[in-house]
Symmetry: D2
Subunit: 365 residues, 4 copies
């Protein structure tokens, strides 16, 4: 199965392992004429880089992106855009231990069951470094969407028990705090909570929220290619995400119709909604409101406590995981959520251009 390919028209294929030579992505289907340079990509990659705070691994990777094709004289040519990041900081150490057993909460066992063996160095393809290609491609999609007036903002909503306070919402904070929380106070508390987790040789989970504004009504498809269904797949395909919500999400399951329905209203001929319980999507198609989604992320499975597991010989053993591991996955996954949302929207915006014969006639005649 071509499991590393995503998108129908704006399609990407990512590649690379944690400790291989490099990681990268090919974007096939990006429109021609988009201004693009490596700095546009680097800005996104820097947001997922390790080694930037006490709660991210100490692995130092420049993660410097190189655009290898598809851009000429500063603009995309419409042909595949290949981008690559060389791995430079793989620590050469003895992997025989990690190769020999199955870490709880990791994909070691399932990879072995599927493929018969695995690249065990740093998690191989199942490492968080796999997202380098997603983020590089997402940066291009986001740039394209920006040209169309669409803005995507993701941030940490909670870490463990610490939630942001909407009243303190500050977009800049989302981009600058180590937790990616848009609330300086919550960030501080979350950092304290994480310090306590590390003290306990434990890790924490959390929630990422993503807001997409500027999407016109009418984007997405009914039935299987619903915009929220595609966003769900996009976000659930990020390692460690265990739940997805759109709009009110799980609250809708206990709500009544009278409180869950958003009433339409019209002002000067412009139709909007009085509330946004739906999260900007009705029947799989955008309604012109803000699209709001959430990803629930599990705690980092690599913890430094003793754990029980099985080795490749099928023997029950006790292990102590070593190495470099973040106590929380959430902050570094924020930009990945943004990237996946951008890729999904880019595809949907393009797909929508042929929804009416009148659009084709206007385009061609």
């Amino acid at each position: 199965m071509a499991g590393s390919t995503y998108g129908n028209i704006f399609r990407i294929s990512t590649w690379g392992e944690s400790h291989g030579k490099a990681l990268g992505v090919v974007i096939d289907g990006c429109p021609a004429g988009l201004e693009l340079q490596e700095a546009d990509i680097q800005r996104y990659l820097d947001r997922r880089k390790p080694g930037t705070s006490t709660v991210t691994t100490s692995r130092k990777e420049a993660d410097a992106v190189e655009i290898l094709s598809g851009v000429f004289e500063g603009r995309t040519t419409g042909t595949p855009i290949s981008m690559m990041v060389r791995n430079t900081s793989q620590i050469s150490r003895d992997y025989s231990e990690i190769a020999s057993y199955y870490r709880p909460g990791h994909a070691d066992y399932t990879f072995d069951e599927k493929y018969g063996f695995r690249d065990y160095r740093g998690g191989g393809r199942s490492s968080g470094r796999e997202t380098v290609g997603r983020v590089a491609a997402g940066a291009v999609a986001a740039k394209m969407l920006k040209e169309l007036g669409i803005k995507i903002l993701a941030y940490t909503k909670s870490i463990g028990p610490v939630q942001i306070n909407e009243k303190n919402f500050c977009e800049e904070a989302a981009r600058t705090t180590p937790t990616c929380m848009p609330d300086y106070e919550a960030d501080k508390k979350a950092m304290e909570y994480l310090a306590a987790c590390m003290e306990d040789k434990d890790s924490a989970g959390g929630v990422i929220e993503c807001r997409i504004s500027g999407v016109p009504a009418g984007i997405g498809d009914p039935v299987f290619e619903k915009l929220d269904a595609n966003l769900a797949k996009a976000v659930m395909s990020i390692g460690a995400v265990k739940a997805f919500e759109i709009g009110d999400g799980i609250k809708a399951g206990t709500a009544n119709g009278s409180t869950n329905n958003d009433f339409f209203c019209s002002e000067n001929g412009h139709i909007t909604k009085q509330t946004n319980h739906a999260g900007g999507i009705l029947g799989g198609i955008s309604d012109g409101g803000e699209i709001i989604l959430r990803a629930h992320v599990k705690p980092t499975p690599s913890i430094f406590q003793e754990q029980e597991t099985v080795n490749r010989q099928g023997e029950n053993i006790r292990i102590h995981i070593k190495g470099r591991h973040d106590p929380v996955i959430v902050p570094r996954a924020v930009v990945v959520v943004e990237a996946m949302a951008a890729l999904t929207l880019a595809d949907a915006m393009i797909g929508n251009m042929s929804s009416r014969i009148s659009y084709l006639k206007k385009f061609y005649c």
Copy 2:
């Protein structure tokens, strides 16, 4: 966009509108030799049929399926299986009112924005009747999976505030109670709750849970085609589903690694897990445990209270929706969740056959 097509190898295309001539599905890619007759399909369709209790619409539809192709002498031939259900009970009434405005919580507005107009009779393509094709195809996928030892069971976990009690779990109840709850007591309470909702001209949401057992370890793909990501898309593509969980789901966001990790253990050479917080999938690939997912479903948007909205002329109006509407969507969506899970698993099981060169050699050499 081909928005009504689902699956890579085991691929389906559904079609039909609520008040059109018929609804149906074409399955392209079903293996040859599967024993199949209309009764196999009918059994599933009967589970989503309206008019079977006080909480489902009084519309009477036989929903009798006809297999039109792809089956010969009682077995699938490997060529497309076309199945059709004629609509017989469309009430011929005046649709000019519903055509003129946008119902809150429905896709009327977004369809108009996307396509320029819509089949407004009974919701057209965005009606719950759209799921007829999904369920018919899902019945075939489920039959194929049964041959491979895989069993899928969905049921109602909660309606409004009423939740099932795991201690009362009874599989037969899930198939026979009007709420599809596997707990006779909870079913009774939920029915009372729904009666109260109807009294209030209101509607209720709920949660559907689905358990998939018998899936061997190694099914699914890393990165974008993760088994849980595909299940998320499958389930979120069902109208009214607003959130998706796998395993512990949202609980994972507040958990610690020490409690969220499932320890592997080995008994007589057979590897299992001591717990199943992950819900049977690690790194996008099945781990041999039971796959558990949940769908959070919003309340029926058609309620009989007065609501505010906008008409096609862009004027603010107040409306009273008429017609036949269930006070809750959940019970009839249970079989749809099963169907979508079956379609997703069928595709994944097939896709996995080529994951190793040794499998190809064994097959061909």
Copy 3:
């Protein structure tokens, strides 16, 4: 494999067997707002109907199409268009003989090898009747293309040794002669040739040519999705087609660059070519000239001479094929070539709308 599905955005799935209940197609991805009625489809289906001359089988099929979904108030809704033709004239006879052996030149043996068994009645899925769905869908694609100024004309170029004379070219003849030759003289000669073939209990091959005009420059893609590569697949997917040519085709293999190159020229700022050896496509992308392609079709494999073959028990036997068989496939395949060309162009025209970011900005901003 979903082998009966064609197209990326304008996607179709055909279904049905020669002697099954019905044949049909689902179009998923047709733009909304296209005026469409059953008569538009019927006109195309009538062109492939059996029983219309001495050189087509005497099987009488009304081939009356029914549109089951996706059209409302005379226009496409943007949702799947399901169309069906009931089989009415299956002769109920003893198929045990044909079931027992492998006819030379037919797919009996290969179907058995692939699927383990087959629907042997009238060729099942490998019958020429399989094209009913293609032609119905092609009629819709052609109607869409007509709105965009594109016209597709296919006709018989030769049957056996009888070729048309370009000087006698008459478009009306292509639509009215029994051979579909656009040359009344050649038609007469070809009919004589076919009569002789039938006298000899033999069959004849031939060539179909297709001209597509009105395609603007810039349609199609470089690399794998070249417009001519897709046309080749489309046409070669029609049963009995053994060769495909674009423009000068096989002549290009013996030509020199100096005579094969088409010189560009400009008149009043409009760029055209002085010649059209390329057949309207350069580097996989349309150049604004007429697209010309040819399909070489093998003789009908069912002949009434004694033939050698093998039965299912693996014994060498001699057979005499009975039943209704055209002495030539070409005339009835003409409309199928048109249909496949239309489907391919429809997809390419839609796909091209996102080739430049400036197109997206003009569309959305």
Copy 4:
């Protein structure tokens, strides 16, 4: 459109321009466990390398491949295989002239019409160097097929008027002569013919034949995914190919059924055919015989004679093309045909594994 992506399950995405930084390919969907090293790829790339004889350009490119991912400890891991070839010999010269006009027979004009501008250096993405990625991926597919007993051999059948003599057929010659003809005599004559063409500042076309042996009966699909239809697309997607034949190909158009049918025969229970007019495929599915196809290739469009054309300002001009150009495309395209055939077969072999439910049961139960 994702025009640089090919294949359903064994899927590749190629990238790169003639004078860009590098060219490459990502293979997504290759089974795990295949032994693979760079030398396996290099062997194929060397066959398409420029600068190896008097009839190929003097551009010197090492075309050294680097495997960047997806291979661990000498075997494929089942995750994407990324391969790259750095461009090293781009001559830095003034491209302003070539940028200003449209070369006859090239894609300059059509790229500009599609994308608004183009990378004009050495043809950019429409250069023959685009095939580097195809050949690298084809080498992997061929290696996989070899494990399954399938062998693919392509060679030059004719150049201009010079054809090979079947009696002189020598496989080694196909791999060692500058023309890739499997006939030393014909090679000599063809080289003389090419020398004469160059003397005349002209170029020549030719024909490539490809034989695929060892394919079991039952591979491929009926209807749109016919094995020959996919081979046609694969081969026609190679730049400069203008016609495609399977088996007797164009001869079938003038043949009679009595001579075109291949009679089946059985020897010791093994079913074969007495002849192979069909070229190894019946009804889109392999029949166990050798698959034989031919590609007709146009002459190199870059010739050194004066030619008429138009510049970007729409003015009629006369041009003299400079630079490095082969007098014939055929010899270097031979390995590309092999690569495309291998990629198509690899996908078909994998796709066939799920054609029967009994195969799935044997695999899983």
